[in-house]
């Protein structure tokens, strides 16, 4: 047998070839896939997809599987339109900072970016992004019969609108539902909670820390999209109104009752560490069988059903948000939408719109979801029609009992776009509230003192 003795030169050669393949290989494969892809469903739209061929746009997204699927299809978009899209992946916390810097300085680096719905008020007030109705109404750019705007989940559209104008097209979204362990509930003869009161009593019945099972978990870590993702819904369910007589009020009696409910359930029935948990931590704990129930985004279903690490597959079921004392259900709704950067020259704005139209279209939504060749299951498609597609329903029902019904029910009936006040100051207000909630949760101050303090800090923000 001849032995293989690599010289420096052969090593360098092999290394370079391997590196070249690692970098370029996937690109070749994608290119090949693009040529094979059937573009006819897109070409049936009565618009000229090639009208700004040759343009290049940069799109900022966050690292997430639903964007990875879209990136994988980008060569198809290039083949359809002749527009090159460069994707830049930026962590969620920094994408807000980076896009605001780009928008403030009007440099037009990102033609569009995965945008937080709570930022549209700020964007619109400063005219940093374009109202999309102009593009939707332009017959040369959009074929309304093909695009079917009404098919896009209305709750996400309203969340991305200011004064009736749409500023960001929803691409992927979520809604908050109850997730519970059916086996544990059945063993005790419990039903998923219909009210917040029942949710607490279910949690109490299942809370057995000695067996390492806790009754419930809600997001505890302080932050605008963290504990402030859950609390606003509870606040609204307790009858709270953010704007009382036009003045932002966070310390009314409803707020006190809502925060008391949250602190009580977190202290009594959630793992102590949950005070510092965000939702991936909750989903991890649930997937390890240590949490009996949680209320959070429906998109966590893919994590708790990940065969590589979940121990609860087959034991999970879902239900809608429990009703609050006001008799209302108010879910937290969220989506990543694409706005158009106003600082772009006209041709690039058109190219950006064509990209957005393509990404949000029913065809691309299906191709990035149940028709996607990869392993990722997208549970946040933006189209009602896709949610009614038997193939998609079959895929989604793999996540557990009642998944599609609970999600669709919540999306259609349990939403309230004003679950968070849509004012430009929200990012700062959210942070202030988040700190107040955490200080009440940790017992540093009383609930009333925490809310009064938040109100004192928020008042000057609303004036400025």
């Amino acid at each position: 047998m001849t032995s293989f003795k690599p010289t420096r030169r052969t090593l360098l050669k092999t290394g370079t070839a391997a590196a070249a393949f690692a970098t370029l290989g996937p690109a070749f494969l994608r290119q090949a896939a693009a040529q094979d892809a059937d573009l006819a469903p897109y070409k049936s739209a009565q618009i000229d997809w090639q009208q700004v061929s040759g343009e290049t746009i940069t799109v900022a997204v966050i690292p997430a599987s639903y964007f990875e699927n879209l990136i994988a299809l980008a060569p198809q978009f290039k083949a359809l339109t002749g527009i090159d899209v460069r994707f830049e992946k930026i962590p969620p916390a920094q994408i807000r900072q980076k896009s605001v810097i780009d928008l403030t300085s009007k440099t037009g680096t990102y033609a569009t970016h995965a945008a937080d719905p709570m930022y549209y008020a700020l964007y619109a007030a400063n005219k940093w992004v374009e109202p999309l109705d102009t593009y939707l109404a332009d017959k040369s750019l959009t074929d309304p019969a093909w695009f079917k705007l009404d098919d896009i989940i209305p709750a996400w559209r309203s969340a991305n609108g200011i004064d009736g104008k749409l500023y960001g097209m929803p691409y992927d979204g979520e809604v908050t539902i109850q997730v519970y362990r059916k086996d544990l509930y059945d063993a005790k003869g419990l039903k998923p909670a219909d009210t917040l009161e029942a949710y607490t009593s279910n949690a109490a019945a299942l809370n057995t820390p000695n067996d390492r099972v806790w009754g419930a978990a809600l997001r505890g870590v302080a932050g605008a999209g963290q504990n402030m993702y859950i609390y606003p819904s509870i606040f609204r369910e307790f009858g709270g109104d953010w704007m009382k007589g036009g003045k932002l009020t966070v310390n009314g009696p409803e707020a006190e009752a809502a925060l008391a409910w949250y602190v009580d359930i977190m202290k009594k029935y959630a793992p102590t560490a949950a005070a510092n948990w965000n939702w991936p931590d909750i989903a991890d704990a649930f997937s390890q069988g240590t949490v009996a129930s949680y209320i959070d985004a429906h998109s966590s279903a893919s994590v708790i059903n990940n065969p590589e690490k979940s121990k609860v597959i087959g034991k999970v079921a879902y239900a809608r948000w429990p009703k609050g004392p006001s008799g209302k259900r108010t879910t937290s709704i969220w989506n990543w939408g694409f706005p158009i950067n106003s600082a772009l020259p006209e041709k690039k704005r058109k190219a950006t719109w064509l990209f957005i139209q393509w990404a949000a279209s029913a065809e691309t939504q299906a191709r990035t979801a149940h028709k996607f060749a990869g392993p990722t299951k997208r549970s946040g498609v933006n189209r009602t029609s896709v949610w009614k597609d038997p193939d998609y329903i079959k895929l989604m029902n793999g996540f557990g009992e009642n998944f599609v019904e609970a999600t669709m029910g919540a999306l259609q009936d349990d939403t309230d776009v004003d679950w968070r006040p849509r004012v430009p100051q929200w990012p700062a207000i959210g942070d202030t509230m988040a700190t107040a909630i955490q200080s009440a949760l940790s017992g540093q101050v009383t609930i009333k003192a925490a809310l009064d303090d938040a109100q004192r800090r928020i008042e000057p923000m609303m004036r400025g």
Binding site: T23, P63, A64, S65, P92, I101, T109, A283, S299, V303
Partner: protein, 279 residues
């Protein structure tokens, strides 16, 4: 048991506790990087498990390979260190030894630039780089890194230069050496330790920097500190891969530390002969 033995045992026990506390995060990262995702989440934490190199294979050769990011980090850190040292050594020497007008002010000004909070200057930096077309380029990021590494290096080096006795320089002048030759042949060998310490810190700061990197980098230049966040998505944290990237990101720093160790120890104890001073 004699009192002496007892004392030794107590001291050893205390040292062990400190060693454990110091080593824990690193040992934990290494262990997690060798686990599967389900082993990482296991409770009670698994100390005995079937180790796998899957996480390393994925982060190095998978679709989101961090090899280009490690390369970016190396280029940025080495570039920043080389340029910083080329400028900082003469500057520090001048501040320590030369007499010139405005010296005090110059020294203070260099220090004052360190007092600006980075978040406050990020937008101007972004705009300047954007206007000269240097966003997402090596030269752009290295230029910005210089703005904080240079003052830091100058101030660190000044103290080493000040500790060299004047007599050495004077002896060199008497032998007919020029100022530059004296600096190169006599002074620099004396502050080798200090230069090594400075190199390590400048390199470390550039290697670990995140805030500027995330804003000023893009698809072409993306250091490992920024790329690491791709394993913390909104959907889940990929702990094993994150640990593997952390271990890989730690390696160059550890290697540098080991290589420079001899000089660092010398540098920290400072200079051959004490008794210099500012002239």
């Amino acid at each position: 048991m004699t009192a002496k033995r007892l004392r030794i045992i107590t001291l050893l026990a205390i040292s062990m506790v400190f060693l454990l506390a110091w080593a824990f995060p690193i040992v934990w990262s290494v262990l997690n990087s060798l686990k599967t995702d389900s082993d990482v989440l296991a409770y009670p934490p698994k100390l005995v498990f079937a180790p796998t190199l899957d996480a390393y294979r994925d982060v190095l050769f998978g679709s989101g390979s961090i090899l280009p990011n490690l390369l970016s980090s190396v280029i940025i850190s080495v570039g920043t260190t080389v340029v910083t040292m080329l400028m900082a050594v003469p500057a520090a020497y001048a501040l320590a030894r030369l007499r010139f007008r405005g010296k005090k002010f110059a020294g203070f000004y260099v220090l004052a630039t360190q007092m600006l909070p980075p978040v406050g200057i990020i937008i101007p930096y972004f705009l300047v780089l954007r206007n000269i077309g240097w966003i997402d380029t090596y030269q752009g990021i290295i230029l910005i890194y210089l703005s904080f590494s240079l003052p830091f290096a100058i101030w660190l080096l000044v103290s080493y230069f000040e500790d060299i006795p004047f007599e050495m320089e004077e002896a060199a002048y008497l032998d007919g050496a020029s100022r530059l030759k004296t600096l190169w042949r006599i002074i620099i060998p004396q502050v080798r330790g200090g230069i090594a310490v400075t190199i390590v810190f400048v390199f470390l700061n550039a290697w670990n920097e995140f805030l500027f990197a995330v804003v000023l980098s893009g698809n072409t230049v993306r250091p490992v500190t920024v790329a690491m966040f791709n394993f913390v998505s909104v959907e889940q944290t990929l702990w094993a891969k994150l640990a593997a990237v952390s271990v890989l990101a730690m390696l160059p720093v550890v290697v540098l530390g080991v290589v420079a160790q001899k000089h660092i120890v010398k540098g920290l104890t400072v200079g051959a002969v004490k008794g210099g001073g500012r002239r």
